[in-house]
Symmetry: C2
Subunit: 468 residues, 2 copies
């Protein structure tokens, strides 16, 4: 029986019993203060905060195993927590329960430079990992913007600016070790670079958003730091020509490392916030990785394509300093946008469509924003057909709030109508559950439910996420 | 209840009833002749042929849906069939049942050149697909050697010579449509290039070897045909130096498209069969894809590495003709090997280890072959740490047969001891089931069993494969 069907009173008693046992075992590492509990609920968007009943600061995989066993015994929800930077309510505890915070499990366990891989604990953030790796000449490329934990990035199948070249978390995880709802530790794969040995349990866990198990160790692919990195920015008269330049770049097989669209409103915001002086037009930020020869060749080819598509002069950022300024501005797009309307709440949403439909989708979205009198800049990982809209709303204005919600809904239906997905990289969480059935069909949802209830018959693992 | 537990008599009656219904529905497309049934059992290695009771030549997804529904009603096994080129008994019917041959479902449904993707039916072979695509300037790179069907390549998570650059089937399938054991058609993903929408059902089916459903449609990634393709061959004094050159090539970030090891015995065989005149030493066959500039750069870098590692002069095959001769020889390695011992049976097996252990693993394997008086050339997709041994045995010599079996077992344990996998690309089928538990642990096997029995409670989908 799913714990969803328990009476609230029964659930409360179960939680109290479990907390009693956990406190005895974990002492001060188990925290029940209101402030810490709320920090471990959802804090990043307009979804309401639903705090867990207690937070365990786990220090080892055996801590996780023990805690999950206790929760399984008492039928208490378990919500894995990395850095809390997810955007669709993934860490909320709608039925209460135990948040397992993995931030203290942030060690690099092994690095194998010859094999271009490493083994890490789930709580390490991508920046911590890259700082650790710096002396090896290797790096881990996936960059979802936030300094998220690697475990969390696995759970949401994260990607970001350079997925166009290096792929997403799906492509860059070799193996996972996780504690399953029955408390058993499962290893999904060997350390071989590829394998055809049985069901792809690694990919089953990547994107499962904590609903199938708690990830305790990850084997990641690494890459050599490129000999040369170069990039720059190019303005376009409209979104369509910027998208066309993107399509031609991808089709030409140029292995562009990053190709990011900022619409006119985002450019204005970033000019103000990041002290750039870009023309107030849509812009593409691009970056190339490789040897000096190949980077020069890629840049030249891109320059030709951009100019063919009506782009302005390409401003090269050859100095690391200029390049860092540009990409810092891209990473600060969120903060820059907030500057457009101080005091407003920024609601980030993401969709992804086949690249041939990208210009059409972005333009229809821009028109929708304007028709509804909203303030909402658009930025996109356009090489993948993925873009974000940050809606800046006054949460006290219920009319505007309703218009913003209506807009986000239409954005999702629009992406689905164009053979796209309701989320390219944020995940389903609580916020996108209503779109999943239309995207994949009820039969696919049923299949997901079959898998979920086989693995987690009592529904203790992060209940209420992905599946309604 | 699993159909494995049915009495043979009950099973026989069920099959007869199902065949009766299917014959009425499908007429001549349902075949029960002994010859056709045997062709649809396993035919490629030493595993005994176990023919299905009947073969349906399906012509559409609704044919597949109807057939699976009938089999579900009567609890009769369903064995999906592409071209029958799998190597571990995947298409065998140990409990009898219906083989669904998809070779007539070989249409290209859609090509989207702007999105670099296409939608195909499962029975199309990779050569048929690439012939169809030729005029578009696009190609599908995955090449497992045999002219396998795309559906079968999904089912076994196939890869091959250029996986080192383009990835495996895992990385190159965007979405799958499949008929599940309950007869329902499931779509696993939208056509977006990436998505974080729910469990990765696409990857759940890739590598599931027909044990979870019958694949009826596949959306594949495509690539632009490279402006330039160049390659060549380089001999090395020993396997270790060839492996070292491979490791350095990968570490340097050279995007080599193919890097294949042939050991001395394989070189001898290929010299004789394919009229090459290579020194009788281990050799690396390499290929580079890109623009003229990048291919030249890659080739130069590789040349330096090869010479640093003690390699001989690099023989460039700049003409398409010479290159084709070289790669034809690589693809004919199997036939060339058979020429080493006319009349012998060739048993192909594959393992994959972290690349840092590759030289050690290949050398220990070569020593084992010699100690046991076997004839067995080695070829490998060494950029991935994946290699094959083709054991040539006289199947009538029981002593030799036993030595060959013992050798294959030790090869698998050796790969597992080196943190590798018992199969890099062939799959588990019947032949590798005994290694899976040691590779991943009993907890992982239990998890796979949970998933299997949730999706296919009566075990009608390709029973006896992957899980014992």
């Amino acid at each position: 029986m799913s714990i969803v069907d328990l009476e609230p009173e029964t659930r409360k008693e179960a939680v109290e019993s479990a907390i009693g046992v956990l406190r005895q075992r974990f002492g001060e590492n188990l925290v029940t203060s209101q402030a810490v509990r709320e920090q471990h609920g959802h804090t990043t968007t307009w979804l309401p905060n639903e705090a867990p009943d207690a937070v365990l600061f786990a220090e080892s995989k055996s801590d996780v195993e023990e805690a999950v066993r206790v929760c399984a015994t008492y039928k208490v929800p378990v919500i894995p927590f990395g850095t809390g930077t997810s955007l669709e309510g993934h860490v909320n505890a709608p039925l209460g329960g135990l948040s397992i915070d993995t931030s203290r499990m942030n060690a690099v366990v092994e690095v194998h430079p010859e094999d271009l891989d490493c083994v890490v604990q789930p709580g390490i953030t991508r920046k911590q990992l890259n700082a650790y790796l710096r002396d090896t000449g290797l790096f881990f490329p996936i960059d979802p913007g936030a300094d998220a934990s690697i475990g969390g990035m696995c759970a949401t199948r994260a990607s970001g600016t350079n997925a166009v070249r290096y792929g997403t978390m799906r492509d860059n995880v070799i193996a996972i070790e996780a504690v399953m709802p029955n408390g058993e530790l499962v290893k999904t794969a060997s350390r071989a670079k590829k394998s055809s040995a049985g069901y792809d349990l690694t990919r089953l866990l990547i994107g499962s958003e904590g609903t199938l198990g708690v990830i305790t160790e990850i084997t990641l692919k690494l890459y050599g730091i490129p000999e040369m990195i170069a990039g720059g920015v190019c303005s376009f008269p409209d979104v369509e020509s910027a998208c066309n330049a993107t399509i031609m770049t991808i089709q030409s097989g140029i292995p562009v490392a990053r190709i990011e669209l900022l619409d006119t409103l985002q450019v204005k915001a970033s000019n103000a916030y990041s002290k750039l002086s870009l023309p107030e037009q849509p812009a593409l930020f691009v970056e190339f990785h490789g040897t000096e020869g190949s980077v020069t060749e890629q840049s030249d080819l891109f320059g030709e394509i951009a100019s063919e598509c009506g782009g302005g002069t390409f401003q090269w950022a050859t100095q690391a300093e200029d390049r860092n300024k540009l990409w810092q501005a891209r990473h600060d797009a969120y903060w820059a946008s907030l500057g457009l309307r101080p005091g407003a709440k920024g609601v980030s949403t993401d969709v992804c469509v086949p690249i041939s439909r990208l210009a059409e989708c972005v333009e229809a979205t821009r028109a929708d924003i304007e028709e509804n009198g909203l303030i909402a800049p658009i930025v996109g990982h356009v090489g993948d057909g993925n873009f974000h809209v940050l809606v800046l709303t006054d949460m006290d204005d219920t009319d505007e709030d309703a218009r913003a919600e209506g807009f986000v809904e239409r954005l999702n239906w629009r992406a689905l109508d164009m053979e796209g997905t309701c989320t390219g990289e944020h995940g389903i969480g609580q916020g996108k559950r209503k779109y999943l059935g239309r995207e994949l069909g009820e039969e696919s949802l049923s299949l997901m439910r079959l898998v979920k209830s086989a693995v987690d018959p009592y529904n203790i693992m992060n209940p209420g996420k992905i599946l309604a």
